[in-house]
């Protein structure tokens, strides 16, 4: 991976440096000039409502979370509120249950994303099959989790054990015996359609003239696949994997419905919810929230790079 990406990265860095040099030559208007520029404001005004709205509702709450994460604040002990403690972070990283939730968040994200990507080897699905594949994604997540919990995994009357009865197999209690796997399978079922859609869009945007030229030159299906399709699809695979990770890291509904965080299935968002709602430990909940954000930022950094290359092409 490192060797293959090194070359384009260098090229990109060079291009950036060149652009910077070009920028430096132009005289840059001073801050006050830009501030008083009426034309600039007529351009900016349509953007402002959306920008101000989003800053107030996403950035400020996050800053507050950051501040509270360094506070000793439990709603059950209002007289002990104090600022300036690292205890919450110490607790996040020493609590075994929390460590397990970090671990499960990683396992969940990685398995769901990788299996969902692998299931998309059937690139040839069209029309009805494509519609079939999209359908799971159009079930409300809570409803999907309920469906799997009661109608599919239930040990007495669930579909899986019903099929096993026909085959004369055992009757396991799926959620109790394999809690993590049960949630993973449900999420794979839910997220595969999303990957399919992204990869399908990638396949359909393959350059037609290049494929035609390969056909004229007598390239066989395998050669076309390795030399044209795969290089073209790599970015779409990256995009699907990274976007999937962003969404799966935030999974809350499935854990809440299927196990309520028991049996070692509490992931980070669920743990934050529980700390906030049941334990009322605001300081600790914030520290956990910050940890989730750090995870997301790590993924997002890669995602932004992929998105910006796709963006520059269009």
């Amino acid at each position: 991976m490192a060797t293959t990406t090194a070359a384009p990265l260098d090229a990109r860095a060079e291009a950036k440096a060149a652009k910077k040099a070009a920028k430096k030559k132009e005289p840059k208007p001073s801050f006050s000039q830009r501030w008083l520029d009426r034309q600039g404001w007529s351009r900016r005004i349509p953007l402002l409502p959306a920008l101000v709205f989003i800053i107030i509702l996403t950035q400020i709450p996050f800053l507050a979370t950051l501040v509270i994460s360094f506070m000793n604040w439990n709603a059950n002990y209002p007289q002990d509120i104090a600022f300036g403690t690292l205890n919450n972070y110490v607790q996040v990283f020493t609590d075994a249950a929390l460590r397990s939730s970090v671990f499960f968040t990683i396992v969940l994200t990685v398995t769901v994303v990788i299996v969902s990507l692998l299931l998309n080897r059937s690139f040839f699905g069209r029309g009805i099959v494509r519609t079939f594949m999209i359908t799971p994604f159009l079930i409300v997540p809570v409803a999907a989790a309920l469906l799997w919990k009661h109608a599919i995994y239930n040990p007495v009357y669930g579909l899986l054990n019903g099929i096993l009865t026909w085959l004369g197999g055992p009757q396991p209690d799926w959620i109790t015996d394999f809690p993590r796997l049960a949630i993973e399978v449900q999420l794979i079922w839910y997220w595969t359609p999303f990957m399919t859609l992204i990869l399908l869009a990638g396949l359909q945007s393959r350059p037609g003239d290049v494929l035609e030229a390969a056909n004229v030159d007598g390239a066989n299906a395998w050669q076309t696949f390795t030399n044209i399709t795969m290089p073209h699809m790599r970015r779409y695979l990256e995009l699907g994997g990274l976007l999937g990770s962003i969404y799966v890291v935030q999974t809350f509904d499935s854990v809440f419905v299927m196990t309520a965080g028991s049996l070692g299935t509490a992931n980070l968002p669920y743990t934050v919810y529980e700390t906030l709602y049941s334990a009322q430990d605001y300081g600790l909940a914030s520290a956990q929230g910050v940890v989730v954000v750090i995870f997301s930022i790590a993924i997002a950094t890669f995602l932004l790079r992929t998105v910006s290359t796709l963006f520059e092409e269009s």
Binding site: K19, R34, S42, R43, P46, L47, P49, A50, F53, I54, I60, P61, F62, T65, R121, F124, R126, F132, M133, T135, P136, F137, L138, I139, V140, P141, A143, H150, A151, Y157, G158, L159, G162, T165, L197, I198, L203, Q204, S205, P207, G208, A221, L239, V249, Q250, D253, A260, V272, Y273, L276, Y277, Y282, S286, G289, V292, S296, A300, T306, V307, S308
Partner: protein, 300 residues
């Protein structure tokens, strides 16, 4: 980054579409039967739980919970009657109405805020418009739990807990980045000449938006609205934390089915079907644009 991003002329877009059509026909020629069968098998595997959900919702409770399952049992609407409160008395209508209120109003707000923003990012772009675009994108990557606690405390002290208006404002913020990205990609497809002609005729911003932009991108607006509607309708974490009895949404109502209550499988499946129905309709209506919304406009 700042120079290479002029709106794409429509001619190349057309060419691209034509060549991708050719690519598709080439691909299907090389596709073989085994792959076709595999695709059908996987497709059926994925759709089957949904089919089973709808089938079970139409069975009686006794037939729904047999082992092995009785697929060919007589159909009945009893499960739906139970869901709408035939014997328990708990009506799902208030949560459904709350969900509709939150989803529809937040979607309208999102569109109203996103169109001018997209205009300022593509037609007459501000100088650092790519930075603004990526700022919107980065807020989408901030997980909901990042701001959950301050939003909860804020609501608690101002008496906004269990208030549908508070929830719908948060849904607006949640969906705004997606809408801005999608809207920008639609606006960038409009030929520049149209705006020049409008400027020559003396049309101002409002007039240009009303008479040129909105009519041309109305299919795009519809797709964006459907996607924002789906996300708002599906949301559970914020709704479950910030609402309870009065302003609880449909997903919050569904959580009352988490613990099993005797024979209730048909009722659960009916509930899941009814609550998912708006999303299924919106999703199939927006099918072509779904991926564009989910990938924040990165994939067209």
């Amino acid at each position: 980054m700042t120079t290479a991003l002029a709106p794409t002329p429509t001619k190349t877009a057309q060419q691209r579409r034509r060549s991708s059509n050719r690519a598709r026909s080439l691909g299907s020629r090389s596709g073989n039967t085994i792959a076709g069968i595999a695709a059908w098998a996987i497709g059926i595997l994925f759709v089957f739980p949904v089919f089973y959900m709808i089938l079970t919702s139409l069975h009686s409770e006794v037939n729904a919970s047999t082992n092995p399952p009785s697929f060919f049992a007589p159909l009945t609407l009893q499960g739906y009657k139970e869901f709408f409160g035939a014997s328990s008395g708990a009506s799902p209508w208030p949560p459904l109405i709350n969900s509709a209120t939150a989803s529809i109003i937040s979607t309208i707000l999102v569109i109203v805020l996103a169109i001018p923003a997209a205009y300022a990012l593509s037609v007459k772009p501000i100088t650092k418009w790519t930075d603004a675009m990526f700022f919107f994108l980065s807020t989408k990557m901030l997980p909901a739990v990042a701001g959950l606690l301050p939003l909860y405390i804020f609501a608690k002290y101002l008496g906004l807990l269990d208030n549908i208006n508070y929830l719908l404002i948060l849904y607006t913020a949640m969906n705004l980045p997606i809408a801005v990205w999608m809207m920008r990609s639609f606006l960038a497809d409009i030929p520049v000449e149209l705006f020049e002609a409008a400027a020559v005729d003396g049309a101002g911003l409002i007039r240009t938006l009303r008479s040129i932009i909105v009519p041309i991108i109305s299919p795009g607006i519809a797709a964006t609205a459907l996607i924002c509607f789906i996300f708002a309708w599906n949301e559970l974490l914020l709704a479950n934390t910030l609402t309870s009895v009065i302003a609880g949404t449909a997903p919050v109502f569904l959580t009352s089915f988490v613990t099993s209550q005797g024979l209730f499988l048909a009722k659960v499946c009916a509930a899941a079907t009814v609550v998912s129905l708006p999303v299924i309709i919106a999703g199939f209506a927006a099918q072509d644009k779904l991926v564009q919304g989910l990938s924040l406009g990165a994939v067209k």
